[in-house]
Amino acid sequence: MSTPMTPPSGSPVDEHLENEIELKEVEGLSQGQIVRRRFFRHKGAILGLVMLGITTLLALTSVGVGPVPGWWQWTPYQTPSVVDAGRPSMSLPTWLGGSGFVIGDHPFGQDEIGRDIFARVMAGVQTSLMVMVVIGTVSAVIGIAVGAASGFFRGRSDTVLMRLTDLVITVPTIVIGAVIGKIAGGVSGLVFAIAMGLILWTTLARLVRGEFLSLREREFVDAARVAGASNLRIIFKHILPNAIGTVIVSVTLLMSSAILLETALSFLGFGIQQPEISLGQLINQYQQAFATRPWLFWWPGLFIVVIALSINFIGDGLRDAFDPRQKRIPSERKMAKAMEADGSAARANASTVRPADDVRNAGTGS
């Protein structure tokens, strides 16, 4: 806090100071730069990004993509002989209570016919990531199109489109998902993912519509119209970039729920069918073996949690980054210390600063 001036007594000191810090920080930066800065400041989001990156890299390179082979010695479908009753060969380093760090032939163990769990889980992670990205893309495209059309044109098209979303919302997602998954899941994972995207766009459509309804009344839209811009140009060049924050955040969160939906449906048997591998399907397949071979059950679940958690943290970071009201709020202790230093400086200049009060307000986040 190096603000040279203390505001006149009587005004809400801390808020003013905060605004000033914020303004100083973003001086001369473009919107994208501000957002990027704020995002990289969010430790959870960075951690999530790193975790997701490592997981993706591991899944793609270890068992390979499609015809390209990976560096891992087994494929998900090979059935080598069962070693040590299929127990995981990976053990923790000695300082963590294990018997020295080794990876071994089957780090995650083997199932009852000897298939390597590491390879299978990695293939499952690939499927889940693919499904997640496809669902995100499909529902983003539909959601933006429907939301933009109904919010921008209003009137009859709005009514029709919103009734359409009502229709989809009437039945819980997992129920429609089960019915559609039963049709599409048997075909291929990609078809399944596209079909899921076709039912998950409703929340996004409503959000985009809300944004469009308020943005279309703004002056810059009028200006664009006066300048002779077409409707499509106004939608895509003038309004959508201003709504992009909402869209990105909402799509990220949708992707994290999509991965849970996919695994849940595969678990119920209405999702991705064998021979394709999905994490939920692995859990379903191995749940009976829990008492005898718990490792079959642990790893797929753990990877679902890691992926979903990373995406949720990234989503949170994005939300903070795009939220214009977002202020950087230091911890209570830092704030108190700064206030104290500031307060003593202020007391020298003005007489009525209330350090105790400010500290409390900082704590409750006003």
Binding site: V171, V175, I176, V179, T263, I283, Q287, A308
Partner: protein, 506 residues
């Protein structure tokens, strides 16, 4: 208001019919009633297939079949599940009861826990407690519910049953757990360092005392509340309720609450005789609960004073808690025989009732409770996270409003600002979220019921979809769609009732 209701219901029915039509087409496309025959090797395969096509009208166009089904529906006939030959309405009646039990229990627990934790977390924004809660809610949010359910089933239930065989908690574990609980309490209550240390000490000591009492009196073998615990728990609740909602300086409210506790403890003894001599039912228990609340209200009214409503509400709330404790005590009294009847493994991992258990109302209630424990825990874990987040963000929003500043500026104590000005307004958005969330929970119940093999609606849906029976699937869709539409209407009405700025007639 009526106008609004009519309009919404009409729109709802129209949406319902269209949704059912589309779902009928989809479900018909998804299932294949002939699959098992096509895969069979029976010599008269062709004939069997033709037979089934004729039975199920499969040669008729699907649109026509929808209208046949819909016509039957209008006359109140839900059809029959052709594989089992059972009437869908009778299947559905039992299933709905089982699912509603589960969803109600889960919603109650999740809302109460989630809102409390969320609000405390909002009041301690950017503190260690807040960060722990945020991380926890993220973690719970990312947990696949089926995974948690299988874990609970295979680990928690079996572990707990094993534990009950020899119920001894090691002392280091007791002390460790108590230290953790103490730390959480001190983080949640916050304040000056001295206050934190005090809270930490008191909470840890209380927790050690509680666990020691349970351990030393052999509570696990004969779990009960009994008059002693009743007084302790009742008085604790009374002080907590008064402390939060009225303030301990409000002597009338405090006396009301304590009187109700005393009254409840005295009534505990005659009630034992009453419960032994009448035939109980859920209705009777609900009636008694209402009666208890009315008595509590009356006590508060009789204490009078300018603010008698506050005392009366406090009295009613405490009376309800006392009634609930007495009820739980009654249920726990049959624990011994129940424990024996189940061979010492009282937490079942499948079904919603123990078959051929027999016993009176209390045994049946205990049985349904033990069956509910795990599925409810699963649903609560997931729902808790979202309620915490809602409550936290809405409380943060409210606490930044100008009227909170005004309330503080006019010198109200912080407790009043939070409870009257903050909490009430933070509840407005939540009230609209809860009805809609119930629908999500009903959807979530599909997974829970599948893992725990509870014969609820979700099970019915999954099994029928796998077995290619369209009637039960459509009945399930009908029920959930009606509930969803009702939930949306209720959410709007609730919103309009608690927020005077919203007018439904406009």
């Amino acid at each position: 208001m009526l106008n609004f209701l009519f309009r919404r219901i009409a729109a709802g029915i129209a949406t319902l019919v269209v949704a059912l039509f589309l779902m009928f087409l989809l479900v018909d496309r998804a299932i294949d009633p002939l699959q098992d025959l096509i895969e069979s090797t029976a010599p008269n395969k062709q004939q069997l297939i033709e037979q089934r096509i004729a039975d199920l009208n499969l040669d008729v166009n699907v649109v026509v079949r929808f209208f046949q089904w819909f016509g039957d529906l209008l006359t109140g006939d839900l059809g029959t599940a052709w594989r089992s030959g059972r009437d869908v309405s009778s299947l559905l009646t039992h299933a709905i009861g089982s699912t509603l039990e589960l969803v109600t229990a889960a919603t109650f627990l999740a809302v109460i826990l989630g809102v409390t934790v969320g609000i405390v977390s909002a009041l301690r924004q950017y503190s260690a407690f807040d960060y722990i809660i945020i991380f926890l809610s993220f973690l719970l949010f990312s947990l696949p519910s089926f995974w948690v359910a299988v874990l609970l089933k295979q680990w928690a239930a079996i572990g707990f049953n094993d534990f009950l065989r020899d119920p001894v908690i090691a002392w280091p574990v007791i002390v460790g757990a108590s230290l953790l609980v103490g730390l959480l309490w001190s983080l949640a209550i916050g304040g000056s360092p001295r206050r934190r240390v005090q809270v930490f000490g008191i909470a840890t000591a209380a927790n050690v005392a509680l666990l020691a009492y349970i351990q030393l009196t052999g509570w696990w073998d004969r779990p009960q509340i009994g008059p002693v615990l009743l007084v302790v728990l009742g008085a604790g609740t009374a002080v907590a309720v008064v402390g939060v909602f009225a303030g301990l300086h409000n002597r009338r409210a405090l006396w009301t609450a304590l009187t109700v506790v005393a009254l409840g403890t005295v009534l505990y003894f005659p009630m034992q005789v009453v419960f032994d001599s009448v035939v109980e039912s859920n209705w009777l228990i609900a009636g008694l609960a209402l009666l208890a609340a009315a008595v509590g209200y009356l006590v508060g009214r009789l204490y009078g004073g300018a603010d008698w409503r506050l005392s009366a509400h406090t009295g009613a709330a405490v009376a309800l808690v006392m009634g609930a404790l007495t009820f739980v005590d009654q249920v726990l009294q049959v624990w011994g025989p129940y424990f024996k009847a189940l061979g010492g493994r009282p937490i079942p991992t499948f079904g919603d009732r123990t078959p051929n258990l027999g016993g009176n109302y209390w045994v049946q209630t205990l049985d349904s409770f033990t069956h509910l424990a795990l599925p409810t825990a699963t649903l609560v874990l997931i729902a808790f996270a979202s309620y915490t987040r809602y409550a936290r963000s809405s409380m943060l929003e409210v606490m930044n409003q100008d009227y909170i500043r005004t309330a503080r500026a006019k010198g109200l104590p912080e407790r009043l600002v939070i409870v009257r000005h903050g909490f009430r307004n933070a509840m407005i958005p939540l009230a609209t979220v809860v009805p809609i969330d119930i629908i999500t929970l009903i959807g979530g119940a599909i997974i829970t019921e599948a893992v725990f093999a509870r014969p609820g609606m979700g099970q019915l849906f999954v099994r029928s979809l796998t077995d290619a029976e369209i009637e039960p699937v459509m009945a399930y869709l009908l029920v959930t769609a009606i509930l969803a539409i009702l939930a949306n209407i209720i959410a709007d009405i609730v919103y309009a009732t608690i927020d005077p700025r919203i007018r439904l007639d406009a």
